[in-house]
Amino acid sequence: MDLRFTPEETAFRAEVRAFLRSEIPAGIRRKVSEGRKLEREDIVASQRILNAKGWAVPHWPVEWGGQDWSAIQRYIFTEELQQAAVPLPLQFNCYMVGPVIAAFGSEAQKRRFLAPTANLDIWWCQGFSEPGAGSDLASLKTRAVRDGDSYVVNGQKTWTTLGQYADWIFCLVRTDPEAKKQAGISFLLIDMKTPGITVRPIVTLEGHHEVNEVFFDDVRVPAENLVGTENKGWDYAKFLLANERSGIARIGMTKERIARIKRLARELPSGAGTMWDDIGFRTRLAQLEIELKALEITQMRVIAAQMKAGSDRPDPASSILKIKGSELQQTSTELLLELAGPYGAVGAGRVTGPESAAFGWADAAAALYFNNRKVSIYGGSNEIQHNVIAKAILGL
């Protein structure tokens, strides 16, 4: 048993770290660090830098641009991305539709989509959730009816993150209304420019336009855009969701935030000294760091177990990472909000408070806190994760 990294792994980490910090623009990384809104160009620019290095989709098959890294290397890479506050490669492209096309798509689809997906020449969004479905994803109602060489799609999707930027959407649609819930669902790729698609913005708690509703009104989709077999879409969705879960603990991101809180606390006046002198605050921070350290090792244990099992299949233990990881992300934003003190009330874009360069962040503290409430909801709420563990691990 040895928790240390090998010299090769340590060298790999150093290489990744140096590259990210020198090549990804500091302005973009600062936005990520402060939880400010990223523009489309920020995300594209960052991902193309990674892709040019061959690092946008390291977990894909090598023939489509993957890196054949070990699970530990992938872990190190993701942690370094998060700690350097680099925007993660667009997950809809890199962790969702890309792997699905690579695994289940036709040769034509692979050739058409995979390279531009890795390079963010195509921006994908996700059409899974529907109003009224929530955690019960399989109850979706959007219909696709075969009509000659096309499907005609009608229905509505929601929580479509960054759909306003998207060129394409990958959708779960019901192709067999007679079949039971999970059966009768297909996986369809749809060009967002197709007539009949309307996108309506939803503004979330923190005040940003991050998600959308997408309406389909007699949208004609070429049948060649069906992925895999008709009515087998639920299998591909499960494959995709398992991918989504990896890295969900976002430990590197929380670490980065803690480091930032420490730097800010040392500069922020409070009483005769700074907030760093406030032993209560520091104790709450220490408690978070301890739990995060434990979770980091839990994550390594999950990775090691997966490697040993020689399997990329999801471990139900990843639900533990999701629950605890989201809690700790949220706790870190609570501490940041506490640090902002009375300035936490200040609306976005207003700089006020002590005349210190270090205080330009305070207006973003509450937004980050609000926005992070989602992490215990999306990707299967923490209540759902509890159900998963109770059943799959405890046998209750």
Binding site: I202, V203, Y343, V346
Partner: protein
């Protein structure tokens, strides 16, 4: 011991509740007001005056209608419940306390009738940049000139400062003590800049450069006369008691919305309220709401207690419980709503945001918990 309202109080509760519910009939109505340049609809203020609410915080001998902490509690709870964008905290609570504790009889006689009529709005500039939660941090200076005092310094986070016709400003005197002054925020030497808060209300910063000011003169020989910080403490205590009531109104409504949602929202073929884990969370929310309500009552009782140390510890205890309840109830409401709770299209989200801002106002949890601990707690060791 008696938790009943008098019949007058009951009528006040009904009328203010009805009035606000009618105007704040939903999120769209509120948003329409919020988008106005003032960040609210000033016409409603006249309505509050007509309801008698604006004279309520003052004694009858001073030209008010003789209400007390219970009347304030009733008003603030209604404001919280309807998520109203009315600057009552600024004028009717903070400003009113400044006058009650800090003004001379002549000043009261001049100002209170105007306030009661809805013609004068106040706010109090309680903090300065870098003060964090310490209200004793007063660097703004008062200088005597032949034409009267002038103030220079910076104040920030002034609640509904743009709506105020006059702002109460604490400033450091030549003697080293602190005095309270009335300043015209649009007068000479004063620069007021407003901005939106996270909860849709508005805040303002005030920069003063030899701005003419009128000193508030407390009753001679009173504790407030001896030390202006005493008046500031009373203002903050009144503010905490009021915020507590507002938070209770907001929490009760948010809890009600959440329970309704659990009953109507269906997943897996059943209302999600049939899931025991969610039921228990809704119950935990109720516990936190009830604990908050109790502490709001305690705040209303203790805000007029005679012993300053006891009063101070009590109001700090109130704020701790209110803050903890507000956080738990707000976060859990969002969690139980799932995605919809995350959107600004849903009014529940706005309650959560208001509750979060309340947590930051007039001292956060850690600040007040430390004050209670420093005071040796609430229970005598005998």
């Amino acid at each position: 011991m008696d938790f009943d309202l008098t019949s007058e109080q009951g009528q006040l509760k009904d009328s203010i509740g009805r009035y606000l519910a009618g105007r704040y009939s939903g999120l769209e109505a509120r948003e329409a007001m919020r988008r106005r340049p003032e960040g609210r609809d000033p016409a409603l203020w006249q309505g509050l005056a007509e309801l008698g609410l604006l004279g309520m915080p003052f004694a009858e001998e001073d030209g008010g209608y003789g209400g007390g902490p219970v009347e304030t509690m009733i008003a603030m709870e209604a404001i919280g419940r309807s998520l109203a964008l009315e600057p009552f905290l600024a004028t009717g609570v903070l400003g009113a306390a400044a006058l009650r504790f800090g003004a001379s009889a002549a000043q009261k006689a001049r100002l209170i009738p105007e306030i009661a009529a809805g013609d004068l709005c106040l706010s109090v500039a309680l903090t300065e940049p870098g003060a964090r939660h310490d209200l004793g941090h007063v660097a703004t200076r008062a200088e005597e000139t032949p034409a009267g005092p002038v103030l220079s310094g910076r104040k920030d986070l002034i609640v509904w400062g743009e709506s105020a016709d006059a702002i109460v400003v604490p400033a450091r005197l030549d003697t080293g003590g602190v005095g309270l002054f009335l300043v015209d925020p649009r007068g000479a030497g004063a620069q007021l800049s407003g901005y939106a808060a996270q909860d849709g209300s508005r805040l303002a910063d005030l920069v003063l450069d030899r701005a003419p000011a009128e000193r508030l003169d407390p009753v001679e020989g009173s504790a407030e006369d001896a030390d202006g910080l005493t008046v500031i403490e009373r203002i903050a205590e009144a503010g905490i008691a009021a915020l507590a009531a507002e938070a209770v109104g907001a929490m009760e409504e948010l809890h009600r919305l959440t329970v309704d949602y659990l009953k109507t929202r269906r997943q897996f073929g059943v209302p999600i309220g049939s899931f025991q884990a969610l039921q228990h969370k809704a119950v935990d929310m109720l516990l936190m709401v009830e604990q908050a309500r109790s502490m709001a009552c305690y705040g209303a009782m203790m805000v007029e207690a005679d012993d300053p140390a006891e009063r101070r510890a009590a109001l700090s205890a109130v704020k701790v419980q209110i803050n903890r309840s507000a956080r738990f109830v707000g976060q859990t409401a969002v969690q139980l709503h799932g995605g919809i709770g995350m959107t600004m299209e849903y009014i529940g989200a706005h309650y959560f945001k208001r509750l979060t801002v309340i947590e930051t106002q007039l001292g956060d949890t850690a600040f007040h918990l430390a004050r209670v601990a420093d005071a040796g707690g609430l229970i005598a060791a005998e």
